[in-house]
Amino acid sequence: MTEQVAAQQVTPTGAMIRTLGLVSAICGLIIVGSYQGTFSAVQENKRIALERAVFKVVPKAKAVGEFYAVPGKGIAPAAGEAPAGAIKFYVGYDAAGQLAGIAAEGSGKGYADAVRIMFGYQPYCQCITGIGVVAMRETPGIGDKILTDRAFLANFEALDVKLSADLAALANEVKTVKHGTKTHPWQIDAIAGATITSRAVGRGINDAAKALLPALVPQLDKIRSKAP
């Protein structure tokens, strides 16, 4: 031990660099190895999680396709790098390969953090037919009522998101109103006592729909049926 301590006291710079370099190289190998080893499983998990989220808001769907919508340019299947300003959305196809609905993600500032939601859009009624939560940190028992409150979920049986005549913007912005004051199909009736979270959901849907739908709706025919 003592010789070792003495030797260490005069460690040359080269030895230190050599050791650190060696350790870093081994560690680099371990990281690359574990990344490669888990890559396929991680991708598979992510795909399953995504499908589960999409199937929840588009119940008839059996398969999912990923697309990008670029405002002003239209839509394209998602492959490789996302073009600038692109909005990702998911197309659900039923067992026959026909369009069953469209799912997209939106987020709004909630009570504790952003509330990220997934909503399902049906072209035939131009309305939103279901929501699911991707991630949120709202107060349990209060904010997370957006998942369980029947009256609140009833808002999303057919939430109107029709586009205006020139297909450039929403005809009516989606808006969250105070509990019990919903009068129009594009309004969301907030949960009493969880108004902030309800508003976050409304804003998330509104922002995402406003950006996505004008690019998507004119080109709906492109995705009517599943590409072979």
Partner: protein
């Protein structure tokens, strides 16, 4: 000299006004309020008061029995905590939740700080804050007062099984064809629906079936008795109510359409009860007269701000807890200058050293009362 001498802070004059006597008088003055509460809500309120107080006494007994702190059951302090805690909670609050809140109030609010006189926060409010955080729905569920048959039948939520969800009060009212009566407190109605109740009605609590606590007028009368007998300092309630009223009045003056009248602010919710019985808790409020004004003013201001701009309709509880936390600072800043000291060097002039040299030789050899709890337990940081 083997006898241990206990060092206790002055004054050492023995007067007829002992802690026990003061506490007993506070209990006496709380009794009419509790009676009125039972008159308002019937046997549910009675059961709630009894269970909460009993659980406070049980917790107190355990902490006193383990021998780690001074105080005993007979000093009435735990009784006060229990009564106040029960009064701040809705009458139909499930009994098991009330028992949990009572235990937490004494254990977390008082026991772990060392017992009577050592607590930093008002124990009743600690218990209520815990209940508010743990059971936010149940603690916001009020029922209308003066219901017919309230002395014969429990509010169903009262009798919820331990750990189980209370029955839905709205469904119960519907069943009794009383759903025209609102179970929302006046503050919640103002906050969420924009309905402002009449201040005179709130003052007496007697008109209609309002979902309110005991009459502010009665609380003020009981507080006046305590203040007149010098069992309570009159400055704190006056400061709390004055500052809350003044802030509410200024805001009302700016925009009467948006803000309710200052009288509504004063007489709604638990402001009067908090100002008279909770903010004045001797262990958790400043001892200097100037400090009392500052402390009361802070609580009043915070109450109004939380009510107007916070997420919850009621703000008295958090305002008082924050006031409690600020008490040591307020005391430090508002220390009076001892006679003979100049204006210069006034700051902290009345502070005492931790090891004063004026202790006599006999006292210097004295043994301080042993703190046995957590001894021999070295701790390292994070």
């Amino acid at each position: 000299m083997s006898t241990a001498i206990e060092i206790r802070p002055g004054p050492h004059v023995k007067g007829p006004r002992s802690v026990e006597k003061i506490m007993a008088n506070v209990v006496y003055s709380l009794l009419p309020i509790c009676l009125f509460y039972v008159y308002q809500y019937g046997i549910s309120a009675l059961a709630s008061i009894l269970v909460v107080t009993a659980s406070c006494l049980l917790a107190e007994r355990w902490f006193v029995r383990t021998g780690t702190q001074s105080g005993h059951l007979g000093d009435f302090s735990a009784t006060i905590t229990g009564l106040l805690l029960a009064l701040t909670m809705p009458p139909g609050f499930p009994l098991w939740m009330g028992a949990v809140a009572g235990m937490v109030a004494i254990a977390l609010g008082k026991g772990i700080f060392g017992g009577i006189g050592c607590n930093v926060f008002n124990p009743a409010l600690v218990g209520r804050a815990f209940a508010q955080a743990a059971f936010p729905t149940a603690i916001a569920t009020y029922t209308p007062s003066f219901l017919p048959g309230r002395f014969a039948e429990f509010i169903p939520s009262t009798l919820a099984w331990p750990l189980m969800m209370p029955a839905d009060a709205a469904a119960w009212l519907k069943e009794k064809h009383l759903d025209a009566l609102s179970g929302a407190t006046p503050l919640a109605q103002w906050k969420f629906e924009g309905i402002v109740a009449d201040a005179a009605d709130l003052l007496s609590s007697l008109s209609g079936h309002m979902a309110v606590g005991p009459s502010p007028l009665l609380i003020l009368a009981c507080g006046a008795y305590l203040a007149a007998r010098r069992f309570m300092d009159w400055r704190i309630p006056i400061a709390v109510l004055g500052s809350a009223g003044a802030v509410a009045w200024v805001l009302y003056g700016f925009n009467p359409g948006h803000y309710p009248s200052p009288f509504f602010m004063l007489f709604s919710g638990g402001l009067i009860l908090g100002a008279v019985f909770m903010a004045t808790d001797m262990a958790t409020s400043p001892v200097t007269p100037t400090g009392m004004w500052v402390y009361g003013g802070l609580i009043g201001l915070l109450t109004v701000l939380i009510r107007y701009y916070g997420g919850l309709p009621e703000g008295v509880m958090y305002a008082i807890l924050i006031g409690n936390a600020a008490t040591p600072l307020i005391e430090r800043v508002t220390q009076p200058t001892p006679f003979g000291k100049g204006v210069l060097g006034k700051k902290r002039a009345a502070s005492y050293d931790l090891t004063p040299d004026y202790i006599s030789r006999e006292e210097a050899a004295a043994v301080t009362p042993k703190k046995r709890f957590l001894r021999n337990k070295p701790r390292k940081g994070l």
